[in-house]
Symmetry: D2
């Protein structure tokens, strides 16, 4: 079995340089191709990484037998087409989030990859941050007890996208994190929002995901906020977590706080007691998430492991996005998530 990989990165725009930088740092990736139709982008890539190979022609990538895997770092509406061709040509794929524009596309790609025994990894970068890993760890250890809610706010001024609304731009981050953190299956989605600049792309939106067992998840995404906020509250039976991704020193705080309901015989006998104890900020691993993910991608391919962020994870997020689009059109009417 091969022991090193050659990877092609398709798309060298906003995010592509980060992918190339981190793939370059992986020892087992011995050769990198960059493909972009923009020659200036390629020149820029060459300047920073003299050893890489360049092409403006995607078919060169497809037909090159030495290329083992293709990273697709292009606008979402092109993912399906590029990913399909890469798989058909026997390449493993690493796809920018969101995975695809539709559930049908995602399902087709998954089926194709399985048939050809190829890996799909969707770039849910946040799953590889120290903060998300720590939260998952706290939940796995039972520290939080049963989960009550997940409430995320991801707002700031810009960056306006031209082809997708604020939900498709920002919510995939949070939905992929929620999908990783909460083991339960989401049942339905309600989404609402509004555009304010003449096009039909919502720039302020709110999303609620319902679960079977009364867990509720909520997402506040906004391109028009005067302040940058990246905060998630996670309420559990035993402890609660505040994750402030903008806090350099204390991204995660675990609150020993809770509510205990003593007596449920009739509404006026509901006795509630509050618990308030220590607060604790665990030290978070600071390695760059994309670096960890790049190593993991290589490991999954070389050792035939199933990624946590595989096509199915990508599909679960796309399912929620598709449902949110439908609900959005109906001002919050809930949309069931098919099982």
């Amino acid at each position: 079995m091969q022991k090193v990989l050659t990877v092609a990165v398709v798309g060298y725009g906003y995010w592509g340089p980060n992918i190339v930088r981190n793939f370059s740092a992986v020892e087992l990736i011995t050769s990198i191709f960059v493909c972009d139709i923009n020659r200036d982008a390629l020149r820029c890539a060459k300047k920073n990484y003299p050893a890489i190979n360049l092409t403006t022609d995607f078919h060169e990538i497809l037909s090159s037998p030495e290329i083992d895997a293709v990273a697709i770092v292009t606008p979402v509406f092109t993912h399906y087409e590029l990913a399909k061709k890469a798989l058909e040509n026997g390449k493993h794929i690493f796809v920018e989030k969101p995975f695809t524009s539709s559930v049908a596309q995602a399902e087709e790609l998954i089926e194709l990859a399985e048939r050809k025994n190829l890996k799909i990894m969707v770039d849910h970068t946040f799953l590889f941050t120290g903060a998300v890993r720590k939260i998952r760890e706290l939940i796995d250890e039972g520290l939080l007890g049963d989960l009550y809610y997940y409430d995320s706010m991801r707002v700031n001024l810009g960056l306006f996208q031209h082809d997708v609304n604020v939900i498709w731009d920002l919510a995939p981050h949070d939905l992929s994190i929620m999908d990783y953190i909460i083991d339960e299956k989401p049942e339905a989605i309600s989404a609402n929002g509004r555009p304010h600049f003449g096009n039909s792309l919502e720039d302020v939106a709110f999303l609620t995901v319902f679960f079977n067992n009364n867990i509720i998840a909520h997402f506040n995404v906004n391109w028009l906020s005067p302040v940058k906020v990246r905060t998630t509250l996670i309420g559990g039976e035993k402890k609660m977590v505040v994750w402030n991704d903008l806090d350099a020193d204390e991204k995660i705080r675990v609150y020993d706080k809770g509510v205990k309901v003593m007596n449920r015989e009739g509404i006026y006998n509901l006795l509630v007691s509050y618990r308030s104890g220590d607060i604790w900020s665990p030290k978070i691993q600071e390695t760059e998430a994309l670096r960890v993910e790049a190593e993991y991608f290589v490991d999954c391919i070389l050792n035939d492991r199933k990624p946590i962020n595989d096509g199915h994870a990508g599909l679960r997020v796309v399912k929620m996005m598709e449902a949110s689009t439908e609900s959005l059109r109906n001002e919050g009417r809930p949309v069931r998530l098919a099982t």
Copy 2:
């Protein structure tokens, strides 16, 4: 015409003492009655305000000809009954928020008060804070330009209510503020939430109010948050406001930030530019809101003025609450607000 007032306060529980304290400070209120069925509460009132008159019998209040106005500071489900009797007996009323449990009740009370030429004031206390007054002033001066959104978060641990969910407990504050700040008419509401303690009262909930002209308002209310947050973002065309009610020194910050869309010919030609200038924290009036409101109540009665927080304002909030309850039952299905 009479120049001073005698006021009765019905209900001396959690909020009643604040009402009595502030009514006591109003020069033109020369006599105060307190009515509560709990004799301990009355003893406590007497201890703090030796001059007040006490009774456990509401009918004594109703039949006393010297009492001009009645403040109803009891659980919401009792408001209608008590308010109706007070009005029928010729008393002006000051009613705790939310005004009533239903739109029908509110409409009946308004009609009754108008027929008897009596004042209704609903205790939308926040309208009398320096912060809300300042925001209204900024909007009136055109400083913010057209409004885009109003996004409020009011969360902390407790205080669990026994008879209403978190929306009926916390949202009336925010809806009354929104009603005062935004001149447009709300068109529809989508609400969702979940209970977590065996009863059917939601302790985490989210509410969206839609307006005709793409203004969108959102409310995040939660009894289960480990941290206390009382923050509202208001996005305008020209400037944006962050109101943090927990900040002792800088409750309001005005951000000279915005987005300018230059070109709308096709989605890929949308040119967006960002503006980021000074930040300004205007000095906020610090007089206790309830004190200002108490003076205003007296002034409205003695000088026959229409309160900004009259029965109609109370009704508008109850309408939104009633719609939110219906939407909540349907996981966010939007409910039109009848005009």
Copy 3:
């Protein structure tokens, strides 16, 4: 032996009402006298505490055999005179901080009290806060290791005093805390500052206390700061503490941070490594400090215990204050603290 106490409070100005309020709440104090030359102050006291006895004549307090203890809550320049008379008349004393205006006065009072077998308690209120108690506990448990420094900032706008500078106004708080927290003996003091309003009272000042073993303590006190800061950093060998007294929820944070010096062979071989781990905010006891102190005062008298904040503790603070005044006159020239 008697089982209950009668206490007189002399001085009902800014702080006196807090003393009366907390003494009133102590079960074993069965009777309270208040003495003030200002009749309005007395009327105000009576209104709030109908059961107390009033007098404008201090001699009445001195000669009343039923009074066991006298709390002296007057300007510092009067402490010695009033305290001396109280002790001479067989009363235990509770004296506002700083204990006296001079070392000589403090020493005389201590000697007198010891001779007459009476208790002196100096109102170093902060020693009874949950925060200071917790810090002391952390140090006692060895959690911080050897102490390196204590650095406190206590600044805000006002409250200007008429008879003392900012050091005599604010530093006694911090010096009494430092005295309680750090077991070592201070060796010398350097103080500097400046007045800005035509009188000779410094409104901005800085104070350094040197210890034998390289512990250094620093105090920044300022009546002219636009922002209120009440923060103390405590650096230890093993852990470090940030105490922010204005933080409602996390007054104390313990940082698992430190420096390790590996190699000391010559300056260029000094290898330093940094450690950075979890941050932890222990739950702080929230009982009002003055309430705890009032109970403790009664307990010390009735059970003949030596208070931690006795005359000697008061004297140690006055010694540092007196030295700081001398250093201040010489722009920071260090003044030895006699042993």
Copy 4:
């Protein structure tokens, strides 16, 4: 007269790369030499800037006629020697702060440069930040009124230096800013501090600078703080400034706060009133300071202008450092600054 410059950078360690990066971006600098005895450092420089010239031999720099100016970015104890040789060989110099190790060295270099008509610029980088420029602007406009105090805190964990104490490491930043901000002449200095790691280098220290007219400046520098603080309070007669250099969005806040003393007839008649108005965060220029400074260096040479951060500015800071060292040895005994 020549219209472009060739510059040599001596020392490519911690700060040198920043100098090269910013000099590279200046259009009028057409050629750059880098000199370091460490060949790995040179290789690293070449990799990032293929166009630069390398040498390990400082004499090559000195003897090269094409080199117009030399940037000395080496440890402070080498500045004098290198700067002197550069000036003797007709090169303008840009010297890392602090300028020299002693007043005598600084004076000699200034004299030499003036004799040879060469420029000295000391790298007081902060003078070119938007924040410091804005503060200077506010003072120049008279917005703050007379200055009362300047109080700076610059603390965090590390970076321990091997050859200088925390004052020589951190205070030159603040002293150069103070020198730029405050037009008055400092009169004396009191400094104290302590080492904690077996060597004699203080890691915690405090510095006070006295001015004639009761302005007082204070500097808190600390390598052993668990938290990073970079905050300066500036108290003025009319307004006060808080500069928090770690705040990404609001580095500077101007407080319309102040004290007014109404009556000065005797200490007990001192009537003080407090003013508290709006808070304002002016937008700060965000261009990298070193970039602005690099352009300014070239401009001063080519157009024969006197830099604000010339040798005299460097000397003023060294004078204060030298005095602080003497005061430090005597635990705060004030040291006069010769005029």
